[in-house]
Symmetry: C2
Subunit: 137 residues, 2 copies
């Protein structure tokens, strides 16, 4: 497998929570919303260009992340999206939304979201919690 390099804008905006053979699971540094970003470790810009096998794995991973968000945060809605107009490296957002969140009911992209950071403690605990929820990683 050739080396995969995360787009520097994604790397800059997120904490790396998990890394397995085929995916990174990233966390948006802004804690104002629970917001994961999944990046398949392949040179692709569209999810439907992935192999059938990777598409299935990706869907499975997104589903588990969404269920994790619902369970951990009792989100009112999950927003799942593959956009990539600014950062073309394929990445998929899974965002937990609440009726009372600062942007509701607007989408989160291209909006100003008040910044709040994760604590060291939260960042050290999340990967283990997530690993259990995702089972596969």
């Amino acid at each position: 497998m050739t080396e995969f390099t995360l787009d520097p804008r994604l790397a800059n905006d997120t904490h790396e929570l998990l890394s397995c053979d085929d995916f990174f699971v990233l966390l948006n540094k802004n804690k104002s919303l629970p917001w994961f970003i999944v990046v398949p470790k392949v040179a692709a810009t569209e999810w439907f260009d992935l192999s059938q096998e990777l598409q299935s794995q990706l869907a499975n991973l997104l589903r588990k992340l969404a269920l994790f968000l619902q369970q951990e945060h009792q989100c009112d809605k999950i927003n799942t999206a593959s956009i990539g107009n600014v950062v073309s490296q394929l990445h998929v957002h899974v965002v937990g939304r609440f009726h009372h969140d600062p942007l509701w009911p607007d989408v989160v992209w291209g909006q100003e979201l008040p910044f709040s950071g994760y604590s060291e403690n939260e960042l050290s605990e999340l990967p283990q919690k997530l690993r259990q929820a995702l089972e596969v990683l």
Copy 2:
């Protein structure tokens, strides 16, 4: 199967292109961007609450719609998203984007997009074209 009723806001904003047992394929009335909306005919608000079988069918349909957009319109990017903050009835957007489109690189949701309508001719031809591209419907 119980009768399924499309949310009136979705019905109002779109043309119904295709309807099969499990899905509606809708077209945003605004021609400024090629924009499909897929609605599974079940009472659900989240894609990951669908049965495994329907999730696979949905992914397959979204992939074919995206490929259709690329082939027909030579889109620079496809935006795929399940949001549902305003209309909670489960629906998934597949939007063809262009580097020169009026909203690029912003997302399309919550933005003012100049309106342009489809002709009667286009609306009568599209379902047949799409049926061929999707094969299954």
